[in-house]
Amino acid sequence: MKKVDKKHADSYFRARVILISCSLAVGFSVSYLVVLLAENLLSITFNGFPLHYYMGAQGAVLTFIILLFLNAIVSDKLDKKYGFIETNKKDISSKKTLTH
């Protein structure tokens, strides 16, 4: 076990919180915000769909999928940047998981 500078660890956590907040903000705007404004989007069409319908049926879901993949990629990069690379998966899990 090696000690990690607390400031270093906290700045990692801050970066993660920013990533999570931004992603959730985008996720909420493509779903809740569009629903709130649905009546105003009736006249706009996209690929044959009225925009509010498109967002509900496809746009929101596609955005969610992209957000989750972006999160996985960016989080990996973040782990690497801060030097927290998972070297041996098996050992790590055996320390943490309780068995009955």
């Binding site: 959730l24 993949f69 998972e86």
Partner: protein, 553 residues
């Protein structure tokens, strides 16, 4: 060959495949080679999560609900996918690091309270039980059509099948079986949508082509003078849409049988990737459901409505026998009008391949896919119920000296009793499949979502707080569901399916205020919560952060 034989053979063949994979894997698991390297890649874990997740509600119920409700039904699409955002960002990786096997166990240990674990176990039983009513109701639709009997008789046969399937037990946890189930399920769902897309638009990509059909539906609706398909908030208020959306999202992030799947991955990193792959595979079905709904409605409006009542296509008779379809010539003009077709949400997906005349094989494949969806999820729910009863309640709270044999017996009996009772309720289902399942989500968002969210993100939250939160959340949610469904209560137009928003709000307020008025949790627990901020290999202890260097161990 008759439709009945083809459907039956396909159902038996796919179930033979699942059982075969399970047996093959069990044999392999005993070999040292396999145990030494058993981690499942996130991509396959994602498929397994998808199979676990997609139940009768997604497969049989959802497209029909969208067809009947129009835009308002899309809350199910956004809610059930958006839940994975909350789950993957806020809950799953952290729970993975905490390293407990079940949700009641996490709650009991994190909040250092046996009472909290007991309440969590009871909540697991209530949620899983409600959810399984929807599954049994779904299997009733499939079996009812297959044997051309009333849905109630189909449900009874489903009860026997599910009790048997759950008793096989071990099959559930095997990832490769679920990967096979996912593939059967998604192929069964996509083939009819693609065929319908080709028939109606000459384009093999339904996701791109159904915008055109939506446009034509708008025209048809205008001519008939009925409420337009795409106009928002015709069935319920805007606030109901948003409440339902929240309920389904928060419920997804709090469903015990879904969260458990994230414990099987090895690291927080793997949990993030599993979440992403899972949503991609789930999204494939969810992006197709609105297309399915639009094609079904178009075919019903153009090919069924307007026919002479004495000359209805052959498929109608079998579905009228199930009691879920009624075609009556109320106006007495000998022509079946669109408004005279009364079709249940629950049969749209199963009936459409027949309506579109897609052939015996596709119809049989749909039946096999639907059975996989209903039975696999119901099996998992029954196992969750029996684990909560035999482990968390009986063993840990009532009889700590119980032998393993006795616990197993309690588990088996709880499966049989739960299946039979759920089956009796499903004989006369209290709502459409998606609606019943939405109640389960409301209960999860009122109980587990706040408990897990605060447990992971707020170290000050304590035992009395979570007990107050879960009891308040469950009470408020249940009370709202019953008051809205049977008492006509509605706040801002929010009905029973949106109850989770009130439950979650009440639970969060109760948890926070009771926690602040009582003693803070022990330093050890607070350290454990701080520890969840950092990646897998970092440990937080006494205000310092340590990196585990496993190479030295």
């Amino acid at each position: 060959m008759s439709q009945f034989m083809v459907s039956l053979l396909l159902i038996i063949a796919t179930f033979g495949l699942y059982i075969g994979i399970a047996i093959f894997n069990k044999a392999r698991a005993t070999s040292d080679f396999y145990v030494a390297n058993r981690s499942v890649p996130p991509i396959f874990n994602g498929m397994a999560i998808g199979a676990d997740w997609m139940s009768a509600a997604s497969f049989i119920g959802m497209a029909g609900t969208i067809m009947i409700l129009g835009y308002d039904g899309l809350a199910y699409i956004m809610g059930w996918t958006g839940g994975y955002l909350l789950l993957t960002f806020l809950i799953a990786p952290q729970l993975r690091k905490y390293g407990r096997y079940t949700v009641p166990e996490f709650i009991g240990d994190r909040y250092q309270s046996n009472t909290a674990r007991l309440i969590a176990a009871i909540a697991t039983i209530i949620i899983s039980f409600t959810y399984s009513i929807g599954q049994l109701s779904g299997s009733g639709v499939v079996i009812g059509r297959l044997l051309e009997v009333d849905v109630a008789v189909g449900t009874l046969i489903g009860v026997v099948l599910i009790a048997f399937y759950s008793a096989l037990g071990g099959m559930k946890g095997i990832t490769w079986t679920q990967v096979a189930q996912y593939i059967v399920l998604i192929v069964a769902y996509l083939i009819p949508v693609i065929f319908m897309s080709l028939q109606l638009t000459q384009n093999p990509l339904p996701w791109l082509s159904y915008g055109e059909i939506i446009g034509e539906l708008q025209e048809l609706d205008k001519q008939l003078g009925v409420t337009e398909y795409i106009v928002p908030f015709t069935e319920a208020s805007k606030w109901q849409f948003i409440a339902l959306l929240f309920t389904l999202m928060a419920g997804t992030a709090g469903l015990p049988h879904v969260i458990v799947r994230f414990y099987t991955v090895k690291t927080m990193k793997a949990a993030r990737w599993s979440g992403a792959w899972a949503l991609l595979f789930i999204g494939l079905l969810y992006l197709s459901a609105p297309a399915y709904a639009a094609f079904s409605r178009f075919i019903l409006m153009t090919e069924v409505a307007g026919n002479s009542i004495s000359n209805l296509p052959a498929w109608t008779a079998a579905w009228i026998d199930t009691g879920k379809l009624s075609l009556a010539d109320q106006s007495g003009d000998g022509i079946l009008q669109w408004s005279e077709i009364v079709i249940s949400n629950d049969i749209v997906v199963m009936a459409t391949p027949e309506i579109a005349n897609l052939g015996v094989f596709v119809i049989g494949l749909m039946a096999a896919g639907a059975m996989a969806a209903a039975l696999s999820t119901a099996g998992g729910l029954m196992i969750a119920i029996s684990a909560a009863l035999s482990h968390d309640i009986y063993y840990r709270s009532i009889n700590p000296n119980a032998s393993e044999k006795k616990r197993l017996l309690v588990g088996r009996w709880s499966i049989v009793i739960a299946t039979v009772v759920a089956g009796l309720v499903a004989l006369n289902p209290p709502g459409a499949i998606t609606q019943i399942v939405a109640w389960a989500f409301a209960l999860a968002s009122g109980s587990f979502f706040p408990a897990l969210l605060l447990g992971v993100w707020w170290k000050r939250s304590n035992g009395p707080g979570v007990i107050a939160g879960m009891i308040t959340g469950l009470t408020v949610t249940l009370a709202y569901i019953f008051a809205a469904k049977y008492g006509g209560l509605s706040i801002l137009g929010i009905i029973d399916t949106g109850a989770g928003v009130f439950g979650a709000l009440a639970a969060i307020i109760a948890n926070i205020s009771v926690s602040l008025f009582t003693k803070a949790p022990s330093q050890k627990i607070q350290d454990e919560v701080m520890d969840l901020r950092y990646p897998e290999q970092l440990t937080y202890k006494d205000g310092e952060v340590w990196i585990n260097d496993y190479k030295d161990v």
